[in-house]
């Protein structure tokens, strides 16, 4: 997203605010989206979906302005021949097949007869759903329904693709393929806005991200800068193993280990580190070289909310 205005701006939002009763959705968000992939990253409840719903005309902002391709979005149905939207929630028509759903959507986008069939078939093929298309949607797995949702957003080959958590529930193989699909859209000169609360997902798609937190844009720019901030975030790692004191002895000599807390009752140690990658590399070596049997290794604050709390200094 850019702060300056250019002629190739696809989506332009100016001081966009939305609240639900007394609850703030987003506050004074100003963004300019240009062709390419724009990642929208934030923890659950940050305001990502609210922004995307306003951008896709489902909600109307309380304050501010938003335009897509230079036109207002709310109640402007003709604009949606150029926009594709993949919603966050797992919603579907129960008593129809995937094929019927896709041909219906193709027809809604104005395609007729064989063209509608071809468009539906092509989008199903792109998400690997051709074989299962004749099954009722209610018989699909969560991952298949998610892929169908992605197919529904690209059935008309839109210029702007808005994807709200498109990888939720998708298996690892198709996660990679959908990321590839999103990148193909970028290569075709199109615009993709994609949201997620998982950093590596966004990182795999684009370097251009916007961090959104508590309804406000917290930072935007190159992902490497954000990544370096996150890497210096002091992480806690909890390890439950057979030889906790030996593991602690081997770890404490490294300067990236800030402190170690012992919990002898559960054979557990909690390590605080300021270099996540070095810590895990070293830890793996210690485990292998000393034959330490690890029962559990978790990072309790290894989530976006913790990172945001760290970044905003809480």
């Amino acid at each position: 997203m850019e702060s300056n205005t250019n002629t190739d701006t696809v989506l332009k939002a100016e001081k966009l605010s939305k609240w639900y009763g007394n609850i703030l959705g987003i506050s004074e968000i100003s963004v300019h989206v240009k062709p390419g992939i724009q990642g929208l990253l934030g923890p659950n409840g940050a305001g990502k979906s609210t922004f995307l719903k306003i951008a896709s005309g489902q909600l109307k902002q309380n304050l501010g302005k938003i335009s897509v391709f230079g036109e207002p979005v709310f109640n402007n149905h003709t604009l949606f021949s150029r926009i594709g939207f993949c919603p966050e929630h797992d919603s579907y028509y129960k008593d129809i097949t995937g094929w019927e759903f896709m041909t219906f959507l193709a027809k809604c986008h104005g395609f007729k007869g064989k063209k509608a069939v071809d468009m539906a078939g092509a989008s199903l093929e792109r998400v690997g759903m051709t074989e299962n298309a004749q099954k009722p949607i209610s018989a699909f797995s969560l991952g298949m329904r998610q892929r169908l949702k992605v197919a529904s957003s690209i059935v008309h080959n839109p210029e702007l693709l808005i994807l709200d958590e498109p990888l939720r529930g998708v298996d690892p193989l198709w996660r990679v393929k959908i990321i590839k699909l999103i990148k193909e859209f970028e290569k075709e000169g199109k615009t993709v806005i994609v949201s997620s609360h998982i950093l590596p997902e966004i990182e795999a798609m684009t370097n251009n991200i916007t961090l959104i937190h508590q309804g406000k844009i917290f930072a935007h720019g190159d992902i490497q800068e954000i990544r370096s901030l996150i890497d210096t975030h002091p992480h806690q790692v909890s390890i439950q193993c057979k030889k906790p004191r030996l593991a602690a002895k081997k770890l404490i000599r490294h300067d990236f280990v800030l402190n170690i807390h012992f919990d002898d009752t559960e054979n557990k140690i909690v390590i605080k580190t300021n270099n996540r990658e070095s810590f895990f590399d070293t830890m793996m070596k210690i485990i292998v070289e000393n034959g330490i049997e690890v029962d559990e290794m978790i990072s309790p604050d290894d989530n976006l909310q913790a990172v945001f709390d760290y970044l905003i200094g809480r």
Binding site: G47, Q58, I83, P87, S91, Y93, K107, C108
Partner: protein, 263 residues
Amino acid sequence: MINGYDIKTLFFFFFKVGIRAKRAKLFFIVSFIPAVIFIIVRIVSLLKPESHYPFSALFLQIGGVFYFQMFIQFLCLFYGSSVLTDEVDNKTLVYLTTSPVSKASIITSKFMAHTLISAVIITSGLLVSFIISNFSNLLKVVYLGRLGVFLGAALLAVLAYSSLFTLMGTFMKKSILVGLFFVFGWEAIAQFLHGATQKLTIIHYIKSLLPAGFPGTQSLLVFRLQPSSTTEAIITLLFLTLLFLTVSIVIFYKKEFTLSDQD
């Protein structure tokens, strides 16, 4: 605002989805309850030839009351209010509102599809019930004419009630509850009041279209009825349908629907 191709696409889709649903099959079975009762009465009358059942009157007393005082309202309440509430509750509205089809087309076509489903269910049960109960008089012109009146009145009732409940569904969260209160509360009482009050119900205009009774019979349907003229009743029902549908469309354009918790 309304595009013919969009209407056709949406109508066939919603008709297909609606007719396949378990709800449609259940309502279809229920619509034959009077027919089953009439068959039982026919069997009993064959076993006891000394008893004389006035079948024409039976149709009005049981069939008429069942269809025109209960079933049509109940059916339209579910199909009318679900025009929009189903899309909101199932969170499928997003697929429609992010397609290049107007909101007017969405409401109109889904209303048409649900009205047709209701009409098919009602007319099937009504027709079979009428045939069974008036089997020996079917070739008489007066009875065939009355069958036409019953079917016509049923279709107008479906239109008027469906549009009213479509409207309720666009702006009320508890439209089913309010609809039940309207039909079985307000209408159940007001239709029997003297003067202009009865004209504030839809059932008044429907009953005004129905025959007062077959020769020598009376019906609960016409109890204390001060009917409006046939023309007035038809025009009023069609006007109400258009009015309710238009207001539904206006509200759909004005209102925003939050399909899930904010994020």
